[in-house]
Symmetry: C2
Subunit: 375 residues, 2 copies
């Protein structure tokens, strides 16, 4: 049982769709699948612009989101309050961009005012690169406020890593005027890893025309041109497309509002449970990720908790990353997760704490169940 | 029934392995799968160096093979006698390399002497980039001779696109001293598309240390470092790994020599059949790809042949690419293909020709069957 922030659980019928024999990626049958999934991806991304599917991990996808719209020496701001924010700064530097990092401590949300001030101080910032849901800490940065700060103080593009937030949190991409936004298949999409998705605004495509950073496989212009013909520039992961067709149909049947409400309910149930059990949460309630809940279990070895959860209950939790290794565990509740899964994971966690000799002050299961009942 | 040069047919047990629920890519179970497949990939690539698995198409993989070992302005030779050779020249130019193209007409193999002369004329060539099996034409370039020409006339790296030749033709990578070589999952590996593989020599890794072309997602140093710990730098396509574990076990059970002999047998059977039926072959016998047989059916519309094959027999053949569109069809015989598949495809082709009013001078089926009998 996967309770990590990716790979996330995959529905049986998606897995079975993926077990079909591959077909030619230049066949009319496959072209129909591309056409249908392209439309459904637009629905999911709340955009009229094409959503481009890459055979790449989330990192490759966000690299594409950066390198297609900028040129060597361009000044960019990278918001960083965790491992993934740091990674986008590394990518920007690897390509010779001039990076100004706006940081916050791990567990603390980025301050939109810091970004506004930085933009006011430097009129030549070409892009602000920001992670929405920081998977390493469970912090959900305030994308709406950051986007507003960017728009009000500059002409910079806003480039968003929504790898673990897209499909779990409402991001009205076109309405907010998000310029570039990317995500990955093994997150809110109920698919195994192997694909990434990125879409860009008209303003971003205008920047693309002038952008000189080198690219070929990640050249989004090639993907856009192919998407117009319900095709792909390079051989796509055909069997993942079979799965994506089914997964997007399931998402459409559930509806965006229901999907977002479910993720909010699970996030709040998980947090209520951790609080009841006296386990400190790493991210504040005001900025908690709908994808993952990070816990810093004071006085109990986080790796021991993960180990017992795995051995006794076959439930996978994620550990802390980098300097938080051993101090943190992270419970994912992203994608194909039900109320039953949440209750089950919390129950197992409570039993695990008991086994490790820790006596929770109150029942986590009751707290979670109470929140779940509210719908 | 897929008789195209990729995606190629996938065994049922590989598909079923891929239909399992994903597991955490940082779990010890997954680490064991990585360790095992890494070892088996070394066996398949006939190398002691790590074979790195990327979540990328063949193009992304060959881009990695190029950009990791070179710096802006480096002078390189690209051998090009088809669509894919042209593509590697485009990539090299996109990254600011100084490209000299050594070409041959489509359907004609590259002349190793041309490469030798070019290297003698310019002592500062850093790499020779060459496609082994040119999928667009069915020509198998003489890699052994080209490699010798490179070694005898320069210190240049040889970078090889073996996308459709690895696993179908003997390439003793270490013995020949091939510096960089890449391939893709949907080709000889009996897997769906979604992964690429690349390995590099010690000489190439020394060049990597000085190479300055920008890279992050395709930075092979990160993959090598992770491979040493049976891990991956970015989220890998977990379910494709499940399939790869099984596919590589099947390949090991068959044995390299048997795999190569089977591909030779199928290539020769297909070519014998085309000759018997009076269908002109595009590549010469001396340089025929073990992956795909290209046919230029004089006086018959190649697209009509493909269309009848698809409609009446549900057999997918590939068409001609670029300027050969409509003039050529290509029959793949790569990966998980049996004698039965070859006979079946030839029989259907013979029936298709009959339906289109063409009377073959002799039986293709008998010619193919005669060759297959020889083993």
């Amino acid at each position: 049982m996967l309770m990590i922030p990716g790979p996330t659980p995959v529905p049986e019928k998606v897995l079975l769709a993926m077990a079909k024999h591959p077909i030619g990626h230049r066949s009319s049958e496959f072209s129909q699948i591309i056409a249908e999934t392209n439309e459904n991806l637009k629905w999911l991304f709340q955009t009229k612009n094409p959503v481009l599917a890459l055979c790449a991990s989330g990192t490759g996808t966000i690299e594409a989101a950066i390198v297609n719209f900028l040129s060597t020496g361009d000044r960019v701001i990278v918001g960083s309050n965790g491992k993934f924010g740091d990674r986008w700064a590394q990518i920007a530097k690897a390509y010779g961009l001039n990076v100004q990092s706006i940081t916050a401590e791990w567990g603390v949300p980025l301050n939109p005012d810091d970004i506004a001030s930085a933009l006011q101080a430097d009129g030549d910032i070409k892009a602000v690169i920001v992670t929405h849901s920081e998977t390493s800490t469970g912090v959900l940065n305030d994308l709406e406020a950051i986007n507003k700060a960017v728009k009000e103080n500059s002409d910079a593009l806003i480039i968003v890593d929504a790898v673990t937030s897209l499909g779990s949190h409402n991001i009205p991409v076109d309405e907010w005027g998000i310029d570039v936004i990317g995500s990955g298949s093994q997150k809110g999409f109920m698919l195994p890893p192997g694909m990434g998705f990125v879409t860009a605004s008209e303003k971003a495509w205008a920047a693309y025309e002038k952008a000189t950073l080198p690219k070929f496989y990640l050249d989004l212009g090639k993907y856009r041109k192919a998407a117009d013909k319900a095709s792909t520039p390079f051989t796509p992961p055909v069997n993942l497309y079979f799965g994506m067709k089914v997964a997007l149909e399931m998402m459409k049947a559930e509806g965006l509002e229901n999907i977002f409400a479910r993720h909010t309910r699970h996030k709040e149930a998980a947090r209520a449970a951790m609080k009841a059990m006296g386990l400190p949460l790493f991210a504040p309630d005001t900025h908690a990720s709908p994808a993952v809940t990070s816990v810093v279990p004071d006085g109990i070895d986080a790796e021991k908790i993960r180990s017992v959860m795995k051995k006794r209950f076959d439930i996978a939790l994620a550990g802390g990353q980098d300097h938080m290794k051993g101090k943190m565990f992270r419970m994912g509740h992203l994608g194909f997760v039900s109320d039953r899964d949440i209750l089950c994971a919390i129950t197992a966690l409570e039993a695990t704490l008991q086994e490790l000799g820790y006596k929770p002050p109150a029942s986590g299961v009751l707290a979670a169940s109470e929140r779940l009942q509210k719908g």
